[in-house]
Amino acid sequence: MSTSPCDTLSFDGRVAGCQRLAVVGAEPVGPYTLLRLERGGLEPGIPGQFFMLEAPGRLLPRPMSLCLAPPGELAFLIDPIGPGTRALCALRPGRAILALGPLGNGFDLELERPLLVAGGIGIAPMPYLAEALRHPPAVLGFRSAHHAQAARLLPGAEVVVEPRFVTDTLPDDPGDVLACGPTPMLEAIRALVPRAQLAWEAPMACGYGACYGCVVEIAGRYRRLCVDGPVLRDAA
């Protein structure tokens, strides 16, 4: 299958594309896979925004942060933790999948002293974010040396491997933290740096506000992470 024509949809003012994109390649990066798709007519969007990707053989698409936007391509770093992500990691050139995006709210890039912090697959949005911020300092935490191979996607970053955690290495005055990673890590960072911009996760069915499945508690209310997030500040 090859890339189809692009349809655009406006979500709450913002425009997203919906298009079948041909697979360019899928390369292992440690335990993860870097899935490269033809860009077609889709915009890469703002770092921290995500795309809903068709997972072949599954009913529901899966939300994925944009990892890299090489010319003519959109690339996603995927951790095969279940049926959908495994199906995405198994994609090969010759296949095409339906993609919807960019969706949600990305990171605010108007910053003085950005510091990128990521844990595990939370590194996914960082390469594209680092480009936009002209390669600010970054701290990456991984479960193992094998996982830490993904650090090659963010040259120059400081890498810590468990038992050490990224939060152990944060400077006293970390500046403008932009973070993505497992919930416990994000909560620890929020405790240390209340103003940090945090990219959260939740299971999503639609990614565009239709199902109310992705809610997280924000200021005592259940809000749709796909609409009000995934990047949140002073919240959640």
């Binding site: 919906c18 299971p203 069915a205 565009y208 239709a210 499945g213 209310r221 259940y222």
Partner: protein
């Protein structure tokens, strides 16, 4: 073949995704209850091998906020608007229908008589329909659950109580466990929708179409033009899309084009018209305008 295509209630927010809503012949809101509801704690959704489960728990802003804030914005879409009405007693349903009876932008009141994620009303479906019927002149559609011994019996009862049409079907209660034997949804069970619900939905549409002479909006696992054709062949006058919208927000347009090119004129059409569709002078016209 030309068939009106609606969204299934709770499967689309026309304000968040107007571009998706514009593909439809009518937009159906998420169920509105008298008071605001935060809904159930997450996780609220889980995929299964044959469908999905949800336990949203009727999260909605409540009648007042809906009428004050959402309705005016929905009116700007300038398309037929169905409001899904929910509650926990006949008084609840009457309260909402009475309040919305005066709203010109509301075309049809669809009574959600069957949400598997909240404790239902003590009254029977027929009593809830009767309570709504008393307070509004707008078309009232009864949305029934497939989880009943004889859905045709329920259809007759709501028809006698004054329903103008039927919406079939709502989700049926299902459960999924994770590898450590915990329920995937925080609430426990959830509403089962998607492909696995389709044969059940077809049977309900078929049984009700034979039992009563009301127009039927058929739904349940429809994801292609061919599946939409089957719903109509089973006796529906329109098709609603739910779960498929999550994987393909352009499904309504795609299915309409496929249906019209297929032109399956052979399919027996019940002849019963859905209420309040644009320029609904005749079934054919309804659609030639899309």
């Amino acid at each position: 073949m030309k068939v009106p295509i609606l969204n299934a209630s709770g499967c689309l927010d026309a304000l968040a995704a107007p571009g998706v809503a514009r593909q439809l012949d009518a937009f159906v809101t998420k169920t509105v209850t008298p008071l605001a509801r935060e809904g159930n704690p997450p996780p609220r959704i889980a995929e299964t091998e044959t469908g999905m489960l949800n336990s949203i728990g009727l999260q909605n802003p409540g009648l007042d906020a809906f009428a004050r804030e959402s309705l005016p914005q929905l009116a700007e879409l300038a398309m037929p608007l169905w409001v899904s009405v929910g509650g926990f007693s006949a008084r609840d349903y009457a309260l909402i229908c009475e309040r919305l009876d005066g709203e010109g932008s509301v075309t049809v009141l669809e009574l959600n008589l069957s949400c598997p994620n909240v404790e239902g009303a003590p009254e029977t479906a027929a009593e809830l329909v009767a309570a709504a019927r008393d307070v509004t002149t707008k078309p009232v559609y009864a949305k029934l659950s497939p989880a009943t011994r004889d859905v045709a019996e329920s259809a007759r009862a709501v028809a006698d109580a004054g329903a103008d049409g039927l919406s079939l079907v709502n989700t049926i209660r299902g459960l999924a466990l994770d590898s450590s034997s915990r329920t995937k949804l925080a609430f426990g069970p959830g509403g089962y929708s998607g492909p696995g619900l389709r044969p059940i939905a077809l049977a309900c549409v078929h049984a009700c179409a034979e039992a009563v002479d009301l127009p039927i909006v058929g739904m349940g696992g429809v994801s292609s033009a061919d599946e939409a054709r089957e719903v109509v062949a089973a006796g529906a006058s329109a098709v609603a899309l739910g779960t498929v919208l999550f994987s393909d927000p352009l499904a309504p347009g795609r299915i309409r084009v496929e249906l019209e090119s297929a032109g399956v004129a052979s399919v027996p059409f019940s002849g019963r018209e859905i209420h309040g569709l644009m320029r609904s002078s005749s079934f054919g016209d309804v659609l030639s305008t899309n």
